[in-house]
């Protein structure tokens, strides 16, 4: 290996079967990472131990934490942050950006269609079961025209690089995708810790997300409103993404409200301020459909606002994302993405889809049951990496158990080939060294009537447990600053 003097990487073990983001196949550091590699090499591992501790303390002191509920106490934890950034070159980013926009647009057209003429069903491109058996399809949204024709104003696209070096989309998150605040926090933290490295790279800023989001939200204001009053609605401070909600409200300069701060009168929405009621026009909601209005949906919800949906339907307030958007955030819909893109945009997908087997189809179910050891089995309606079984990691008994579950409710499951997520050098606390860890990338796309914006950066999530492929923070994942280089 070259750069043998680079002591902090001297113990770096490169598994040749995995796609390493910073090394080429021969083990040579890629050109784009060369400078960074050398700069990091000027430090000793002790420097990293101390920088890492400082970065952790900084997150902790800023209160960028989530709460873990233990047996008898509540613990505050930080989302682990890794000091070694991920770099994406401009050409690759171009693909990711165009691909993310393409998917968001196609999904938006899909949503419009299934809540209006349902042409894609009539043309038999996707089966009707996608909507009839989806808990997230809202009958109440049939025939509703959301302002600007936009359903998925904000999308989070989870992308991985497979060991063939190509990008694949794993999931489209269009309910309330979270994580964008961490993109910005990670950048801030890395700047604080190792500001010198930024002098050597032309990196796109990530701090322009809030202004783009606000511009979008203002652009989908209800008819007849001149300067819209925008708010962010949160389930409250005990929600694990509360930091993000407050961050977004603060950086957009708008109010962060809870359901109890709002009320509806004559189908208009108002917030309760120290100077009396103030009309609200656009709500960026970070609560799920089922909870937004107890009179229309889950009656037990205390997070929502009675009468909000009627006000929305009347066109007096805009909700972003639109109610009912969740139906397209379904692993079963995901599998039809290439067809959906083709149908509405008449384009080939820019980003690959992972081939998916539908357990609801008898022949595919048969294949899945026979090849379970080489497949990932996923429930179609779980978020956060829960309920996923990775075939080659299961014991004999576990395989039998999964098979039985799939056979019992085939519609609930899909299966995909085991994708090998690329790996990236990551600082590991326990061993005080850099090791290979699997990473993915979540991009954030903002879609408006006449605009689209992808945050040039995205959240690189890293599975900190050795060999683990699940990067979700709820499953012990961390994250990295992600640099998109200027052309």
């Amino acid at each position: 290996m070259e750069n043998i003097e680079n002591q902090i990487f001297s113990s770096y073990q490169r598994n040749p079967d995995l796609y390493d983001e910073i090394h080429d196949k021969k083990g040579k550091v890629k050109e784009i990472y060369q400078k960074l590699f050398n700069l990091y090499g000027e430090h000793t591992i002790n420097d990293y131990v101390s920088l890492n501790n400082k970065a952790k303390a900084s997150f902790f002191n800023q209160g960028i934490t989530f709460q873990v509920y233990g047996d008898n106490n509540v613990q505050e934890k930080i989302f682990p942050f890794d000091l070694f950034p991920r770099i994406i070159d401009p050409e690759e980013w171009d693909i990711i950006e165009r691909g993310s926009i393409q998917r968001s647009k196609a999904l938006n057209l899909f949503l419009w269609d299934i809540y209006h003429d349902k042409k894609i069903l009539k043309d038999k491109i996707v089966p009707i079961e996608l909507i009839t058996s989806s808990a997230n399809y809202l009958d109440q949204m049939n025939g509703v025209n959301p302002p600007g024709g936009i359903y998925n104003h904000i999308s989070g696209t989870d992308i991985i690089k497979h060991n063939d070096g190509k990008y694949y989309v794993l999931e489209d998150n269009i309910r309330c995708p979270s994580g964008v605040s961490y993109v910005i926090c990670n950048r801030t933290a890395l700047k604080k810790a190792l500001f010198g490295v930024f002098n050597h790279y032309q990196t796109h800023t990530v701090t322009n997300y809030a202004e783009n989001l606000l511009e979008l939200l203002e652009s989908v204001k209800p008819k007849g409103v001149d300067i819209p009053n925008v708010v962010v609605i949160t389930p409250g401070m005990y929600n694990s993404a509360f930091y993000e909600h407050s961050y977004l409200a603060k950086t957009m300069g708008v109010e962060l409200v809870e359901g109890r701060d709002l009320f509806v009168e004559n189908d208009f929405v108002y917030m309760k301020t120290i100077k009396g009621p103030e009309k609200v026009d656009v709500i960026y909601r970070r609560i799920d459909d089922q909870f937004i209005d107890p009179l229309e949906f889950n009656p037990d919800s205390v997070l929502g606002v009675p009468g909000l949906f009627a006000a929305y339907k009347k066109g007096n307030v805009t909700l972003a994302n639109a109610p009912g958007t969740g139906v397209a955030d379904d692993k079963a819909v995901y599998t039809y993405m290439p067809q959906i893109i083709k149908y509405y945009l008449d384009q080939e997908p820019i980003l690959n889809n992972v081939h998916t087997y539908h357990c609801s189809r008898p022949d595919e179910l048969k294949y899945v049951l026979e090849h379970i050891h080489e497949l990932v089995i996923k429930p179609v309606d779980e978020a956060g990496g829960y309920g996923i079984s990775i075939g080659n990691r299961l014991s004999k008994q576990e395989i039998e158990k999964v098979k039985a579950e799939v056979k019992a409710s085939p519609r609930k499951y899909v299966a995909q080939p085991i994708m090998s997520l690329s790996v990236h050098p990551t600082y590991i606390d326990d061993t005080e060294s850099f090791e290979q860890r699997h990473v993915d990338l979540r991009t954030f796309t903002v879609l408006g009537k006449d605009k689209e914006f992808v945050l040039k950066g995205g959240l690189t999530r890293v599975a900190l447990k050795k060999g683990n492929l699940i990067v979700n923070s709820s499953q012990g994942g961390g994250s990295k600053d992600t640099w998109v280089l200027k052309k």
Partner: protein
């Protein structure tokens, strides 16, 4: 000659403890349609809280009340006056080639257009064996099958108040063979949909003077969509077709879409609700 109706709806809610915050939404206003006209509404409540009119997610008119002061008791009174044309439920023709209508049921565009009233819901889901309870006989028309289904349910369930409640699942009702109009209607919807006929749950009032069975509150019946004919009302509680005495308020997939009163009340302790409805009509 149209009939003049006057419906009085009363509800009284009593709470053990003070209620500081409450929202109610009533879905009780007779809908204006081709045979129900000029609905006049009078609505009042004992707290003199402001009444708002709105439209719910399915397009039906609602009444909302949100008192601004604390209370332990509130009563509501609604009066609806309107006129209604005499309805002849048998005023339609069946195409002698009955297979055309059956073909339509199997048409995929038809299924897509009517998907909302073909899918099963928590209140109308059957277990596998129960789907066999009533199978259509394809040698007779869809309408004849639905009338037979109406009779089947009328005979199958014995009208008994107090054995079931709003949340009782269909499989229990099938096992108990007892229930009220909601249960009759849910079973009708489930079995008709299972045979491919789009069917909706209807909530409304029944003129009790007509001698039919209903309860003293809201009545429920079903409407099925028959190709070439359209939506037809079936009242399995009485084994009749819906007629002039059936005053429609709204329809939906099941009771959930049509609940006459929804309340969001933040209060400790117990509460009690009493509803009464009277329907009077004059030629």
């Amino acid at each position: 000659m149209p009939r003049e109706f006057e419906i009085t709806y009363n509800a009284k809610n009593i709470y053990d403890d003070w209620v500081y915050d409450a929202h109610w939404q009533f879905l009780i206003i007779p809908v204006e349609n081709e045979n129900q006209h000029e609905v006049e509404i009078e609505f009042s409540n004992s707290l003199f809280a402001n009444t708002e009119y709105s439209i719910n997610g399915y397009g039906f008119k609602t009444l909302r009340v949100h008192p601004k002061k604390k209370f332990k008791e509130i009563t509501f009174e609604a009066k609806f006056k309107f006129s209604k044309e005499e309805v002849d439920p048998y005023n339609f023709k069946i195409n002698p080639d009955i297979s055309l209508a059956y073909n339509e049921l199997h048409n995929s565009d038809f299924k897509i257009i009517h998907e909302r009233f073909l899918k099963s819901t928590p209140f109308t889901s059957l277990e596998n064996k129960q789907e066999e309870l009533f199978k259509f006989d394809n040698s007779i028309s869809i309408f004849d099958n639905l009338e037979a289904l109406n009779l089947f349910i009328f005979k199958y369930i014995k009208f008994t108040a107090g054995v079931t409640e709003v949340g009782t699942p269909l499989k229990q009702i099938i096992a108990k063979k007892k229930g009220v109009c909601q249960d009759f209607t849910h079973l009708f919807c489930a079995l008709a949909r299972n045979n491919g006929v789009p069917t909706r749950y209807v909530s409304g009032y029944l003129d009790q003077d007509s001698g039919y069975v209903g309860d003293s509150q809201m009545h429920a019946w079903a409407e099925a969509y028959i190709p070439e004919i359209g939506w037809k009302g079936f009242d399995p509680t009485n084994n009749i077709l819906a007629n002039t005495n059936h005053i429609k308020v709204c329809y939906g997939k099941d009771y959930n879409d049509c609940a006459p009163l929804k309340g969001i009340i933040h209060s400790q302790g117990r509460n009690k609700t009493i509803h009464t409805v009277t329907v009077e009509s004059q030629q």
